[in-house]
Symmetry: C2
Subunit: 396 residues, 2 copies
């Protein structure tokens, strides 16, 4: 069978091979990217879906508008306001089938084969493959513990004139990095100065541990004239409420949202109204603040436990920035122990010792740093985290 | 803002303009393509979602496999068997976000810009636009009351060597036509003879009125050696249970399903597990046969009412084949009354008289027949159908 040419642009994932090994009994896995399903507010969601089926059964079960279910768009506008983005109207938001679909719609709407897109190095794996399927040529902008480097980003924008720049500024997957306030301003100024579209993917921003992160690019854009018109913001309920609902959303310039809505019409007609009406009822019931407080506290303890254990057990063999939110520790082998600087090699050895994580190299669209690792603390209890890191140390 | 080149291949829908007029108070609308939400089994769905949240809350709310939720795949295999397709394993099925996403994944997986695809003339509007977004050049194969003409189809296959042939063989939208058993065999034989992939889209096959339709191409393929390997089948719960769940599915050659699954991973990761687990519980509860019997009876009465009223009120001004299932009457102006042969003109006049329908021309990928009309009887009670057709007659 002859497939479409676009399929030649994607590779089967190196990570997928590793995941096949995870079925081994007794393994402690830091490899996943999932939130902990034990933290899902099942009762709140049950109440919400029953309310939706009672109060608006037709809407919850019928075809809906491609742009999204109006009561959900309204609740999301309120939710965004509660997070510091004022002045968002329901009509500024389209609902997507998870934020993965927002990425797909951006690709479909914007990327012609050969177009350049700047992403962070490292960035979300499914973003890389999603944009490549539309023929994008990806350019990696380097990231440190403070997020993307604006000077390098500006050089790359000037050099490559990208269709857009894709960033996960807050506790990104996999880097866990938090873009500083100063750099956020710089990024928005670059958008205006070079008339470049910036995509802010923000699935993790709600998952901060102690202090709230700096304002999102979206919230900050009111202070940088001209930047809002060059900004797309993608949000998601997947990490804080439930990925199974597949409810994400996207804000952006009206013309772009119009084209994305047309593309969505032919992608899946609309996002499940069954999920959308449930999410709307959940937000309306006012349960989100308590849910957020609960998941933040659990992930904060797990992140602290993992950080402390890594420092104690691996010492100068690795370096990492203690995460202030999100689901991940992003670490780098220093070579101080056994000259070990290959994350893939360590991942294989770690499986033999009964612990799994994901090597960092596949998260780079180009020039991978093979010494990197991604460790998720999200789904493992604190005692198992201690034990898992001890096993990891035994593998070095 | 500069959008992707692929957007140049789609036009804004002529129908959308018409829909803007439908808000007029008191209008009787035969224009929609929706099932009747009054027929949804809300209580059955409520029981199903509560069972899912009780019995497997983690699975219902967590990320799931891109291929689909395993218990749903198993229920769908059983459902397909109950409809005459034996020997389908759960692993032969991938779940899609409505069958619209199956079309999108076929486009993404198979169509390179410039590739030819044969569709019926007329065919589903969102199919036309979906495939064009991937750069397809569409060829229309003519349809009569018995479905697509196999002789013309064979000529077109020989002439154009299409990437695939897309058919809605059973009560298709908009034609309502039912492909005869003889023609079904011919289509499968053509697939083998010319080594051509056939896509059978079957969202309406369950909605028959008196007798069950001939076996689906999928069911029939066991009798035509070599045809199963050249056949894709798309199913949906949207017309019989609830479109809001966005649960469709696709069967096809394993290599194609593998590529489609990879594409789906980057389109929306997976279909809502909240919807999937609800659908699985619904099917498991055994409620589907009673639900089908109920909706078939209601739609059969409405179809009969509309057919009789059309014959009585419009007489020789139109011709149509009385539908044996589905949601639509597809009619053609003969010109016998006032020489009226323009469906768009009649649609505008009809709005003035207080009744809406959709002209047929936009449903053609090429060479539109401007005398055609699509009338949906699905969401209108029988008294209003009588009244609506009287208004339509007044517009001729």
């Amino acid at each position: 069978m002859q497939f479409a040419d676009r399929l030649n642009n994607v590779e089967t994932s190196a990570i997928r091979e590793l995941f096949k090994l995870l079925g081994k009994p007794g393994i402690i896995s830091f490899a996943g990217g999932f939130p902990d399903s034990a933290l899902f507010d099942t009762e709140g969601i049950r109440e919400a879906v029953n309310a939706a089926l009672t109060e608006e059964p037709g809407a919850a079960l019928q075809y809906g508008a491609t742009e999204g279910y109006q009561p959900l768009r309204e609740q999301l506008a309120t939710f965004m306001a509660s997070k510091g983005s004022q002045g968002i109207a329901a009509s500024d938001i389209i609902v997507t089938t998870g934020s993965q679909q927002a990425l797909d719609l951006l690709g479909k709407t914007l990327i012609s084969p050969g177009d350049k897109v700047i992403v962070e190095g490292p960035t979300f794996l499914a973003t890389i493959q999603c944009f490549r399927l539309y023929g994008a040529q990806l350019i990696s902008a380097p990231v440190d513990g403070q997020g993307v480097d604006p000077d390098r980003l500006e050089q790359l924008i000037k050099e490559h004139k990208p269709k857009f720049v894709y960033l996960i500024p807050t506790f990104g997957n996999p880097s866990g990095a938090l873009l500083s306030l100063e750099r956020r301003r710089r990024v928005l100024e670059l958008a205006v100065k070079h008339n470049t579209l910036i995509v802010e993917d923000d699935p993790y921003g709600d998952l901060y541990f102690d202090a709230a992160p700096p304002p999102s690019l979206l919230a900050l854009s009111v202070n940088v004239p001209g930047s809002r018109e060059r900004l797309v913001h993608c949000g998601s309920l997947s990490k804080v409420l439930s990925p199974g609902l597949r409810v994400g959303w996207m804000l952006g310039p009206a013309e772009l949202l119009g084209k994305a809505t047309m593309c969505k019409q032919f992608s899946d007609a609309h996002t499940s109204t069954f999920s959308q009406s449930t999410a709307a009822m959940y937000l309306k019931a006012g349960r989100m603040p308590a849910t957020l407080a609960r998941v933040r506290a659990v992930y904060a303890e797990r992140a602290m436990t993992m950080g402390n254990a890594l420092r104690r057990e691996l010492g100068d063999a690795i370096e990492f920035v203690q995460p202030q939110g999100g689901l991940f520790v992003w670490a780098r082998l220093t070579g101080a122990r056994e000259k070990l600087v290959d994350g893939s090699l360590l991942a294989k050895r770690a499986i033999d010792k009964g612990v799994a994580f994901v090597p960092g190299a596949p998260f780079y669209a180009s020039n991978p740093d093979h010494a990197t690792l991604r460790l998720s603390f999200a789904t493992v209890g604190i005692e198992k985290i201690e034990e898992g890191i001890q096993r990891l140390a035994a593998a070095t």
